[in-house]
């Protein structure tokens, strides 16, 4: 009743398309202050990125004379040269394959294992969960040398599979920890109803579990994608052939190769962050939504 009493006082609700943030606090922050803080915040977050992007539009002599200035005049050759260079597109393709392969692998393996942990009763279930959870404790840093030897033994150095498989393995703990509460939250009654209707446990898995856990799946998929896209240490150890370089290695390689050509390095750097930014902006709402479910569980 209090809800219905206060509802009319609420502001015009969120525009369609924004997701259901429960923010109809009746209290209104002093608006100018809020906007001021927001502006400062945005400036702080975006400033360094703008520096990189704008730096790519300058010449080296402009950068040397005034490192904090704006492009004057604007120069586009840095960007066009990077965009027409083969190494940039090779690294871009490799990163895309690595990130997509990792994402698909993590989601498929993660959902299956989480389903077992969340909804089956068997001896060793607790051990299985603890095993994966313990993985959170092992950063790639700890395992990187033996990991390199393992990949070498399997003959996977200088292949994208050599980074995709370890990336899947190291993303599994987070994935499982986020997904298990999602899968547990699916009401038992649903499963019983499906069973009465003749669905097998696996049928229930495909028809009900996958759709219902989609927010969690998307969240974990995005986290794995970004981690793979940005990964630095693993490719550094596994990949030495420039034809297999991913973008972070490409950036690092380019930066050392053209260390005097700051402007071009900045152009290369800004172009390499675009895909992850697009990907993230498309799915950003899902990330917040997915984590909400995980934390509730």
């Amino acid at each position: 009743m209090s809800a219905s009493a206060t509802l009319p006082a609420g502001l015009p609700t969120a525009t369609p398309g924004t997701y259901e943030v429960r923010s109809s606090r009746k209290f209104q922050w002093g608006s100018p202050l809020t906007y001021l803080i927001a502006l400062v915040l945005i400036a702080a977050c975006i400033g360094p990125v703008l520096y990189i992007v704008l730096g790519g539009f300058r010449t080296n002599s402009q950068i040397t004379e005034d490192p904090s200035g704006l492009p004057a005049p604007w120069v586009f050759t840095n960007y066009t040269e990077v965009l027409s260079s083969e190494s940039f597109w090779i690294a871009m393709t490799n990163s895309a394959i690595s990130a997509l392969g990792t994402t698909v692998g993590v989601v498929v393996l993660g959902v299956m294992a989480s389903y077992v942990i969340a909804r089956y009763q068997f001896a060793g279930k607790g051990v299985m969960y603890s095993l994966f959870a313990a993985g959170l404790m092992f950063p790639m840093t700890v395992a990187i040398t033996p990991l390199y030897l393992m990949v070498r033994t399997l003959g996977l150095t200088n292949t994208l599979a050599g980074i995709i498989l370890p990336q899947i393995a190291f993303a599994l703990p987070t994935t499982i920890i986020i997904l298990v509460p999602f899968l547990r939250a699916i009401p038992k009654e649903l499963e019983e109803a499906a069973s009465i209707d003749g669905a097998s446990r696996l049928g229930f898995f495909w028809r009900m579990v996958i759709p219902l856990s989609l927010p969690g799946v998307i969240t974990t998929g995005i986290l794995a994608f970004i981690a793979a896209w940005n990964g630095y240490m693993l490719p550094l150890f596994i990949l030495s052939d420039p034809n297999t370089f991913t973008l972070p290695l490409g950036v690092a390689n380019f930066a050392s190769q053209y260390s005097v050509d700051t402007a071009k390095v900045l152009a290369f750097t800004s172009l390499s962050m675009i895909p992850a930014l697009i990907f993230f902006s498309l799915f950003e709402k899902r990330i917040v939504g997915g984590l909400t479910g995980a934390i509730k569980g």
Partner: protein, 322 residues
């Protein structure tokens, strides 16, 4: 259709033969377990094994050294310094990022114009890679970089510093960059936590005459407790294992003189770069054990309080339930 007896307590009580259930468990969890064991657990165990050897990485390790590697590590002053830096980073990350993230999340949970754009822009630093962040910030903060020039332009020449090289300042610079890079992740988590707080609580509090800030301190913060504690846990573990940014900005050799070396950069320098894989593995084991002890202590004394709904000490409101 004979349901296995005695399993009624579980969730998945379904009719079906037992072997079939086992097959399903094996098929569903098998691939994940195999990949996980092969690329995480086995390498970690191998690191523990190599740690007892003097080994240059060629052929099987034969030169058994016992605990010699560990003795060397634990008596090395540069390692002590690195551990100290790690713990400074742990503490400062919590103190700097926590309050900032909560404020940002509160801000972004308000109804203001352009909220979704603000939300997206705040996450930009989190999404771009460490290599990009490191490359960009290293250029900006260098002695003749954009930051010092900017200070000069606005008449603050006396604030110009050697941001990256001065041992008294470099840690501060690192914390600035870390906060910039990772606060977005904390905000995502806090925002998710905020959205799970029932709106009715605020309405009831408003009816009782609670001001905005009273609502935040009495409702938001306590109910955000579990989220804060999970974030703090992830932040602590991440800070103990910090490598990429330090390595990219300071390189392998400068980090220790600039006072920003970490256990992981120490491991990279003295293990991988020096070709001493046995020694590097031993450092990895020490790094792991330190993280493990911290994590266990944290879980024992902080995470278990979640049922009580109290706040952790790092926000300075220990035990203050309403």
């Amino acid at each position: 259709m004979s349901p296995p007896a005695g399993r009624s307590a579980g969730r998945a009580t379904r009719p079906g033969p037992d072997w079939r259930k086992r097959a399903e468990i094996a098929v569903l969890s098998g691939p994940a377990i195999i990949v996980f064991l092969t690329f995480v657990i086995v390498p970690v165990l191998m690191a523990a094994y190599y740690g007892f050897y003097r080994w240059k990485g060629f052929g099987p390790p034969t030169d058994f050294a016992g605990l010699q590697n560990y003795v060397t590590i634990l008596t090395d002053p540069t390692f002590h310094a690195a551990v100290g830096h790690n713990f400074v980073i742990v503490i400062l990350s919590l103190v700097l990022q926590g309050p900032v993230a909560i404020l940002f999340a509160l801000l972004m949970n308000q109804k203001i114009r352009g909220r979704s754009i603000i939300r997206m822009l705040i996450f930009v630093p989190y999404v771009i890679s460490e290599v990009i962040v490191g490359t960009g910030w290293a250029l900006m903060m260098s002695d003749t970089g954009a930051f010092n020039t900017l200070l000069g332009k606005i008449g603050l020449e006396n604030l110009q510093q050697s941001w990256l090289a001065d041992p008294g300042i470099a840690m501060g610079t690192l914390m600035l960059i870390l906060t910039w890079k990772y606060v977005g992740f904390a905000v995502i988590l806090m925002l998710a936590g905020l959205q799970s707080i029932p709106e009715e609580l605020y309405e009831a509090a408003a009816i009782d005459g609670a001001t905005f800030w009273q609502q935040q301190f009495r409702i938001t913060l306590p109910l955000l407790g579990p989220t804060i504690r999970i974030w703090a846990f992830l932040s602590i573990i991440g800070a103990l294992q910090l490598f990429d940014l330090v390595n990219i900005i300071w390189g392998q050799y400068v980090a220790s003189t600039a006072g920003t070396s970490t256990m992981a950069t120490y491991m990279y320098l003295n293990g991988h770069m020096a070709g001493n894989y046995g020694y590097g593995s031993a450092v990895a084991v020490v790094l792991f054990l330190i993280s493990l002890v911290v994590a266990l202590v944290y879980q024992r004394f902080v995470l278990r309080r979640d049922t009580e709904g109290a706040l952790t000490g790092d926000s300075g409101r220990k035990g203050k339930t309403k």
